[in-house]
Symmetry: C2
Amino acid sequence: MGATGAVGQQMKEQLEKRNFPIKDIVFLSSSRSAGKEIEFNGKTYTVQEAKPESFEGIDIALFSAGGSVSEKFAPEAVKRGAIVIDNTSAFRMDKEVPLVVPEVNKEDLRLHKGIIANPNCSTIQMVCALQPLKELYGMSKVVVSTYQAVSGAGIDAINELKAQAADFDNAKDAEAKVLPVKSAEHHYPIAFNVVPQIDQFTANGYTFEEMKMINETKKIMHDDSLAVAATCVRLPVVTGHSESVYVELEKEATVDQVKQAMTNAPGVELMDDPSNQVYPMPLMTAGLDEVFVGRIRQDLDNPNGFHLWVVSDNLVKGAALNSVQIAEALIEENII
Amino acid sequence: MGATGAVGQQMKEQLEKRNFPIKDIVFLSSSRSAGKEIEFNGKTYTVQEAKPESFEGIDIALFSAGGSVSEKFAPEAVKRGAIVIDNTSAFRMDKEVPLVVPEVNKEDLRLHKGIIANPNCSTIQMVCALQPLKELYGMSKVVVSTYQAVSGAGIDAINELKAQAADFDNAKDAEAKVLPVKSAEHHYPIAFNVVPQIDQFTANGYTFEEMKMINETKKIMHDDSLAVAATCVRLPVVTGHSESVYVELEKEATVDQVKQAMTNAPGVELMDDPSNQVYPMPLMTAGLDEVFVGRIRQDLDNPNGFHLWVVSDNLVKGAALNSVQIAEALIEENII
């Protein structure tokens, strides 16, 4: 569901690349995109307009077409026997819905009642890096500042950045219609700029994106007492979110121990060699599956404090790959 | 000294704009730039090659031509009776040299022995926002992640960004010769990228830029026990550094009190109205004198913790303006 969008396309590619065991597949969309053709494993499929009965006979339904579409169609799919893996924020904080990053809390899948939520992109990559540290050393506090790519706001945002970037000398007066939030009153140029707003603001002064990172991290890591604070910022990068993460552990650790934890962590790749200028950068890791971690430093004042630089492709591990991994885990764990 | 560089040009403009009381002025540079002409207050001056005797009869010498030039010529200027205001890192951590942001520690000027150091750009804007909070509520901890513009690395870095940005579709393979550090072994594209390295790495895994922010903040704010941690990151922005700052106060405060402190702070402008999408962005504040603060939020777990978004032009308040303000303070306080 949402087959023609940026994440939908990535989902299709991940299913192909990972040889997901598929007997039959149906590509769904709104009426606007219905009729388009999609190539999948060498065959051509026509995208169909989603209707409640579209989900008859479906085992697993991957949703990525916006929260209101999920709210409307996910219950219809569940009613017809499908397990829904939903990439929107519609059900993430629902107590009845597991919110899953397979490397972190695969066991929560067993609690599903039809819908499984895929976390926010910026949350997924962070918890992949944090969970191994929490398991080994305990964790009391996380402060994250993000450096997020425009692809999280869709194809229109990518095109807007491209058009603005072409006029270097008039960046300040560039036309802006999409970012920071399409439905918001004011739009600001993103090329050669930094915009400290992702999603709308909530009443407490935090944005919804920041509250997603805070609340989802606690839910996925099963720790309501974990202190999490986030500042979410949009940058002129096409794809790949970066995060400057400060974490306080409950036990003292060394930089080497933290590096070893990252080396051992599933889905994580340590990329940390300052003497050779090796650290992750979004332009170089776009399109890759892993969560890359570098710039690991012990805090100079608190031996339990560590600073990490975490980069991953927000459309891949941050969205499509994680959804497909959830589907794979359902099979591996005999849940479906 | 360093009249033809990016900061030198800004110093000239600030001296003109602020009607600095000047009887005579001499523009100095290396032999390479000597002979160029500079317009100042309607007159044309020829840039002269700096020699020790260039400083005969000079009251105030503004230096911004690199650390090695300051190390060579600043003592010569002092020997001849000048007070040197040095914008390089050469003397900043020297115990005999005051490191001054006039809004924060003007009184340190009285301790000078000929040389006064201008802090690092990313430090200056942060301490302008932090000092009023420290005075009112005490301060125990600062964690900052920066979003820094390429102009801090000079004209060559700006030109490199411009050239790379013109080829959106081949950003990953763009030619890079300047950033992250001109003298470093590896260079990476900055357009559509995020590079977590500014300056070279020190042995502890922090960069020199990060250690400057940590050490200079403690020195300027007169508090060696203040815990400061920094992660410094370069972005495809021309001018204007942004900072995501988390601060822990010793006493509890409210968001309104923190906002009021920013409103009252000299050199700081509060720009914080989330409901109208008002927050500082570097593209919009480039060229302006103030340090802009927005996105002020209380931490959700620690009532003494606050998050701030601090933006200022790294060439203006971060360099040239602060140097000229130091010169003004020397006159106002009858130190010269």
